[in-house]
Symmetry: C2
Subunit: 313 residues, 2 copies
C-alpha cells in the first residue's frame, strides 16, 4: 500500500478505496500508532484547522464564558481554538492578532480594544465582535445602544431621575454604544446626562470599584446607575456597601452582560443579557461559513429583571 492510499483512507477521499485495503490501512495505523502530522497537513492544505480568538482578558467572566462557548463549538466542528489574551493592551492585541494570522488560523475572532486598529489580516477571515464595524470586515454586534436604552428606561420607570453611568473605557468592546444608549434614553426622558454623571473604568471589579467610589462620593444625589458590565457592577456594589448606600433602596442598579456574576451578587443584578450561544454561533459561521458575510450583523438583547433595580423589594 502506498502513502496515497493512506491519505485517501484518513480523509475518506478524495478518491475511494477498496474496503479490504481500507481495513489493512486501518490495522496498520493502529499497529504502528500512526497519527497524521498536523503541521504537514496545515502546510499542504494552507489551513490549520484552528481558529483564533483574541480577548482583552479571559479571566473576566464574560470573556471567559464566550471563550467557553467558542471552544465548545470549535471542538465539535473539528477545529482547535488558539487563545490570545491581549491583556487590555492595544499593542499586545495587535501582536496577538498578527501572531494568529501567521499561524494560518482558518478564522479569527477578535474583541478589539481599538475600534480603529488596522492589522494586515492577509486574507484571514476575521470577525470583530461587539465593536463598530470596519470597512470591508465582518462584524457581529449585539444591540449595545438599544440594550443600554432599555436599561435606562427601566430605571426611569422606577421613578429614578438622577441616573448615572459607569461605563467602559472609550474603544472597549461595546463601551461607546452603551454610553450613547444611556445618553439617548435620558434625553428622551428629558433628564440630565451631564458629563459629571458619567465615569469610566476598564471592565474589571477593581475598575468599577474605584470609579464608583469616585462617582458616589462626588454626586451623592445620584439615585440610580447604569453600569456597562457585570464585573464593574460588582465593584460598584462593594463601593456602595462601603459608603453605606443600600441597593436598590438608595441606589437602583442595572448592568450589562448578564453573566453568572449577575445572578450571584448581593443583590442579584438586573442586567441586559447577552445571548452568548447565539453570538458564538454567529461568529463561528461568519468566520468559517462561506461566503464570509461582510458587513454588520446585529443581535438583540433582553433585560433580565433581578433585585438590583428595585422591582422585587
Amino acid at each position: 500500500m502506498s502513502t496515497a492510499v493512506v491519505s485517501y483512507v484518513v480523509n475518506s477521499g478524495p478518491r475511494p478505496v477498496a474496503p479490504a485495503t481500507r481495513q489493512r490501512v486501518l490495522d496498520a495505523m493502529a499497529a504502528l500508532g500512526y497519527r497524521p502530522n498536523a503541521a504537514a497537513r496545515a502546510l499542504r492544505l494552507r489551513r490549520a484547522t484552528a481558529i483564533g480568538l483574541v480577548v482583552p482578558d479571559v479571566s473576566n467572566t464574560y470573556f471567559g464564558a464566550l471563550a467557553r462557548e467558542l471552544s465548545d463549538r470549535a471542538f465539535t466542528a473539528g477545529y482547535g481554538l488558539l487563545l490570545g489574551d491581549s491583556n487590555n493592551d492595544p499593542e499586545r492585541e495587535r501582536a496577538q492578532v498578527e501572531s494568529l494570522v501567521d499561524r494560518q488560523v482558518d478564522g479569527l475572532i477578535v474583541l478589539s480594544l481599538e475600534p480603529g486598529s488596522t492589522v494586515e489580516l492577509r486574507g484571514t477571515p476575521t470577525v470583530y465582535l461587539d465593536q463598530r464595524s470596519r470597512p470591508g470586515q465582518a462584524s457581529i454586534v449585539i444591540d449595545n445602544a438599544g440594550g443600554a436604552r432599555t436599561a435606562v428606561e427601566h430605571l426611569v420607570g422606577h421613578g429614578r431621575r438622577r441616573i448615572a453611568h459607569l461605563g467602559g473605557l472609550a474603544g472597549a468592546p461595546g463601551a461607546d454604544d452603551r454610553a450613547r444608549g444611556w445618553r439617548e434614553a435620558l434625553a428622551r426622558a428629558g433628564l440630565e446626562s451631564g458629563a459629571d454623571l458619567s465615569v469610566q473604568a476598564d471592565y474589571s471589579r477593581e475598575g468599577g470599584h474605584a470609579a464608583a467610589r469616585d462617582l458616589l462620593s462626588r454626586r451623592p444625589r445620584v439615585d440610580a446607575v447604569f453600569v456597562a458590565s457585570d464585573v464593574q457592577a460588582l465593584g460598584l456594589l462593594r463601593a456602595a456597601r462601603e459608603l453605606g448606600i443600600s441597593v436598590p433602596q438608595d441606589l437602583a442598579v442595572v448592568s450589562f452582560d448578564g453573566t453568572a456574576d449577575a445572578v450571584f451578587s448581593d443583590p442579584p443584578l438586573t442586567a441586559v443579557e447577552q445571548p452568548l450561544a447565539r453570538i458564538a454561533d454567529a461568529a463561528l459561521s461568519a468566520v468559517l461559513g462561506q461566503p464570509p458575510p461582510r458587513g454588520r450583523q446585529q443581535i438583540a438583547v433582553d433585560l433580565v429583571i433581578r433585585r438590583s433595580c428595585g422591582c422585587t423589594e
Copy 2:
C-alpha cells in the same frame, strides 16, 4: 540574496549575516509584506511553537485567571496557546487531550477531572496541575491538604466547633486533597468530621448554592464551613442570605483559591490563596524546560484573611 539568508535574518541565526545584507533583507520583507509561514516552520522544526491547555471550564474565574497567566507567558516566550475546555466531562477531556497531542503541541498542561485517566501522550511533554501525580508524569500541585488544614485550623481558632465541608466532586482538581485536609484538621482538634458534615458539588456558583442549601437546611447547627473553591463559596453566601443565616456571625466561612471573586463578594472571603503566577511559571518551565522534570512539585499556599471568617467584625 537567497532563501537561506532570509532565514538567518529572521531567526538571527544560526549563522551570521553581514549588516548590509541583513538590512536589504529587512527592507525587502517590509516591501513585500513577507511573513514566515508558521506551518512550514513547525513542519521543519518538528515543533509547533504552541502549548496546549485543558481546563474543566474557562468561564470559572480560577481557570480563567490561570489561562490568562499562561497565555501571557506563552506569548512572551513566542508560543501560542491552544485552549481546550473539557466542559467538566472526562470523555471530552480525553478527546481534547488527544486532539492537542495530534496537533503536535510542544507541551501540554492539563487540569484533569480524572486522576486515573491514561491517554497516549506519545512523547508530548505534559504536566498535570493540581492533581495527584501519575507514574512517570510531571505534576505540579499546590499544597491542597495543607491549605485546607490551615483554613480549618483558622476556623477552630475562632472557636467554631461544627465545621462543615463544601467540597468539589471526587477527582476534580484538588478536591480530594482538600477534603482530606479538612478531615485531618478536625481530627487533630478532636472535632467531628462525619460524612453528613460534608457535601460535594462541581466547581460552580450553582453547584455551591445547591449543596449549601442542602447542607444548611439539614444541619442547622453547623457554625462554620470550609469551601473548596471561591465560586462555590459565592453560591454558599447566596444560600445563607436566602436562609437568613448571617456570615460570619452565624456561619464563618473560609474558601479556597483567592481569586477576584473572593475580594468582591459580600462579605469578602477569607481564602487560601493560590499563587497563580508561580503555578504558571512552574507549569511552563516543566513543560518547555529541559529536561522535563518528572515527578511531583509542590507549591505552598497562604491564607488571606478577609471578612467571612469573622476576624474583623
